[in-house]
């Protein structure tokens, strides 16, 4: 597997800042499967390891980022990866990939792209590091795919959602305008 040069720009999520090539992140570190929300902040939910995660109410109400992730995934990602993270004849099922991949590796691949050859066929994912339509919503796409992978939300558009918090609204604006 060859990773292309990262092209992070200033508007990417703050979490990207701590990313570096040298960081030792065991492929399946303990906790990669952990999706339980330990706390919330400004409408976003996090695991006890401070990794963004989803939060689904008993009546199926999804947190705003999961809903936003559904929307952004089905604009930017589904044309290759198929509907609802299910995969396609062209690209792998991301709902599975995100359950076996460290959060920081996910960010790195989305921002920097990925190339690999399988069975004589080249698979190439572009780098989205400069694409605000992707990077400003990367945590949303991540928690949506994790919710799909953990089977916490069904296929289709989430029917009920938490309101969009002022913090999220402001962060989106800052990112898109930045």
């Amino acid at each position: 597997m060859k990773k292309t040069t990262n092209t992070y720009v200033s508007f990417t999520a703050a979490s990207l800042m701590i990313l570096s090539y040298g960081m030792a992140t065991p492929a399946l570190a303990a906790g990669v499967q952990d999706t339980a929300a330990a706390y919330s902040e400004g409408g976003r939910y996090f695991t006890k390891d401070d990794i963004p995660t989803f939060n689904i109410g008993e009546d199926g109400t999804v947190d705003w980022p999961t809903y936003e992730g559904f929307r952004r995934y089905h604009s930017e990602c589904h044309v290759c990866h198929g509907p609802e993270g299910e995969g396609s004849s062209y690209a792998p099922a991301l709902k599975k990939s995100v359950m076996n991949m460290d959060y920081y590796d996910f960010l790195e691949i989305v921002a920097g792209g990925k190339e690999e050859s399988k069975g004589g066929t080249e698979f190439v994912m572009p780098s989205f590091g400069t694409n605000k339509n992707v990077m400003c919503y990367i945590d949303d796409i991540y928690v949506y795919l994790r919710a799909r992978g953990a089977d916490a939300v069904p296929r289709g558009r989430p029917r009920k959602k938490e309101p969009k918090s002022d913090e999220i609204r402001q962060a989106q604006k800052d990112c898109l305008d930045g």
Partner: protein, 599 residues
């Protein structure tokens, strides 16, 4: 016989008018033993006069031989046959094989271009290629990275090559090319990357550029004469495109040209359609966004537009207008007319006078279509030629961040690029269709060169109360009516072939090659090939035997959108998985399968 230029008629034409068309193409397509163009002929009828395989004996069809292309990915288009040689092409990396039909398909030569793999991810919806073209002893390959190469048909040596676009800006190619006279006409893909669409003519002798006509932009770029170029019989006027965009938006305005091209040698006009305006969020690009979503008739020598017709002004659903234009001569209201028939993504089957661009028929070819109540056919009306949009289905009127539900057809259209066929014997068109609806939610996006520029969220599902996602239909273009309709579980993503044997062929996404009765649609034969079929069926004859051939190799937009099956978010949780998943039926792999009758 009412389609132009077959057999003797074409021979006659080449001998009488030597400067018209390309003589090598005319003579090669005039011999029904060949399949010398992707569409069979300049008129794009996909009709063969071969009749050894007919409605009575097609049930005995057998596999004669098969050939693995060595490439996974979606296999669109079809092989060519010229004389004793078959030319086979593949998706990225766009390999070309010349196979010896006198020697069980032995490989005479193989050409494999070197292309930067970074072109792969900027090809929205798979690295398909819709095939090669032949003229003057050369094979023309238009690669994914927009390199156009002319190969010596005998040796496979590259004679010349030229580059048409810039993949780092999202400019790629999936289409075949059309050779007319001394030029090769090429299009461009990248409507989801904000590419300014264009058609370019290169001289076949040395690859130099003859002319380029953009779809959107200033008059000198779109090659339109404000006085002489007409729309529905009237001059288009000055700045006909610029006036319908805000500021410089036309520069990233789309209108790409990734479909099929046809040609009328008598009128010396080429015909094609342009794609969606960029972005998919209509609120971000006020105006009619001319000339996206338009049928174009251009002079083959100069590129100047003779007439245009915009089918979907200010698109709100991604209904690209790039599908094939089929040229026939038909009697309409007691009068013989040179017509053009086009089955658009937006669900309308259009019949136009191809000389003048007059709109004769615009009727829906899928009853599920619900975004419109019809096209205004009154020449005295201020909205003449425009489709009436149903407010509830208007993603523009519903606004940004609002989910417009149950819009039919879905963005992939009632029919995509998979070409239809026309039989002059039955005077019917045979049309592979999609039968899929969608939810569409537009939202604000920003433009970055070389990055997707989409701006809408989609969910797709079959029409309410139905489970079939496709139909294969017979269409009367004179009246705009469906004669018969065969339901298919999945969208029919394979180009049809009509033959003088009164048999019509098409492939299915499960992988079946099917033969049906041209008059009734009754299934006469089926065979399951190794993978799903998104290629086009072709026929040729060699050594006195007729053969039928098709690529299998699932992929394309169908392989992405349908692989996991569809769900209807409006049906509630119980419906999840209620529709068939393509991945339950087929897997990747490119194979050519050739059929014939037993001895």
């Amino acid at each position: 016989m009412k389609y132009i230029l077959t057999g003797a008629a074409a021979m006659l034409m080449t001998s009488m008018m030597p400067a018209v068309a390309n003589e090598s193409v005319m003579s090669a397509t005039a011999d029904p033993a060949n399949w010398a163009m992707q569409a069979g002929n300049y008129a794009n009828t996909r009709y063969s006069t071969l009749d050894q395989i007919n409605a009575d004996n097609v049930g005995n069809l057998q596999v004669a031989w098969s050939f693995s292309t060595g490439v996974l990915r979606g296999h669109e288009g079809s092989p060519l046959v010229i004389g004793d040689v078959m030319y086979v092409h593949t998706p990225f990396p766009n390999i070309v094989y010349a196979l010896d039909l006198n020697n069980d398909g032995k490989i005479l030569w193989k050409y494999e271009p070197k292309q930067d793999p970074n072109v792969i991810p900027v090809m929205c919806c798979d690295t398909v290629n819709r095939g090669l073209a032949y003229a003057d002893g050369k094979i023309f390959l238009h690669q994914a990275d927009t390199t156009l190469v002319a190969l010596d048909a005998k040796t496979g040596e590259a004679v010349w090559s030229t580059v048409n676009g810039d993949p780092t800006k999202g400019e790629t190619n999936t289409a075949t090319v059309l050779v007319v006279k001394d030029k090769v006409i090429v299009g461009i893909s990248g409507g989801e990357f904000g590419v300014q669409g264009s058609v370019t003519a290169y001289n076949i002798s040395d690859g130099t550029r003859a002319w380029r006509a953009y779809s959107v932009g200033p008059d000198d770029q779109i090659l339109m004469d404000p006085e002489k170029t007409t729309v529905l019989g009237k001059p288009v006027g000055k700045d006909s495109s610029l006036k319908t965009w805000e500021g410089d938006q036309w520069k990233i305005g789309g209108g790409t040209t990734w479909g099929w091209y046809s040609y009328d040698p008598e009128l010396n006009l080429i015909y094609y359609g342009t794609g969606n305006p960029s972005t998919w969020n209509p609120a971000q690009r006020p105006g009619d966004n001319r000339w996206s979503m338009t049928i174009m008739a251009r002079d083959a020598d100069t590129g100047m537009a003779k007439w245009v017709y915009q089918m979907t002004p200010h698109d709100e659903w991604d209904y690209d207008g790039i599908n094939e234009m089929i040229l026939t001569d038909q009697e309409i209201d007691g009068q013989m007319r040179k017509v053009l028939t086009h089955f658009d993504r937006n669900g309308f089957g259009y019949t136009l006078d191809r000389e003048t661009g007059e709109l004769l028929v615009a009727e829906l070819f899928d009853p599920a279509v619900n975004w419109t109540t019809g096209v205004d056919m009154d020449p005295n009306s201020p909205t003449y030629g425009r489709p009436a949009v149903v407010a509830a289905k208007s993603t523009e009127q519903n606004g940004e961040d609002v989910n417009s539900t149950n819009v039919c057809p879905a963005a992939l259209g009632s029919k995509d690029q998979q070409p239809a066929a026309y039989s002059p014997k039955t005077e019917l068109f045979y049309v592979p269709t999609n039968h899929v609806c969608m939810d569409y939610e537009p939202f604000h996006v920003s433009y970055t060169a070389g990055q997707p520029y989409v701006g809408a969220t989609l969910s797709m599902y079959p029409p309410e109360g139905e489970t079939n996602m496709g139909n294969f239909i017979a269409w009367d273009g004179k009246t705009g009516t469906i004669k018969w309709s065969d339901p298919e579980q999945f969208s029919v993503w394979s180009g049809a072939l009509a033959t003088a044997g009164d048999v019509v062929f098409y492939g299915t996404l499960e992988g079946y090659l099917k033969a049906v009765d041209a008059k009734t649609g009754k299934e006469l034969y089926r065979f399951k090939t190794p993978s799903g079929i998104i290629g086009n069926v072709m026929t040729y004859s060699h050594g006195g035997k007729q053969y039928v051939a098709v690529y299998s190799g699932v992929g394309g937009w169908a392989g992405i959108g349908l692989a996991a099956g569809l769900t209807n978010p409006n049906d509630g949780l119980g419906a999840v998985g209620g529709y068939a998943a393509l991945s339950d039926y087929t897997a990747l792999g490119g194979t050519l399968t050739v059929f014939t009758l037993p001895n």
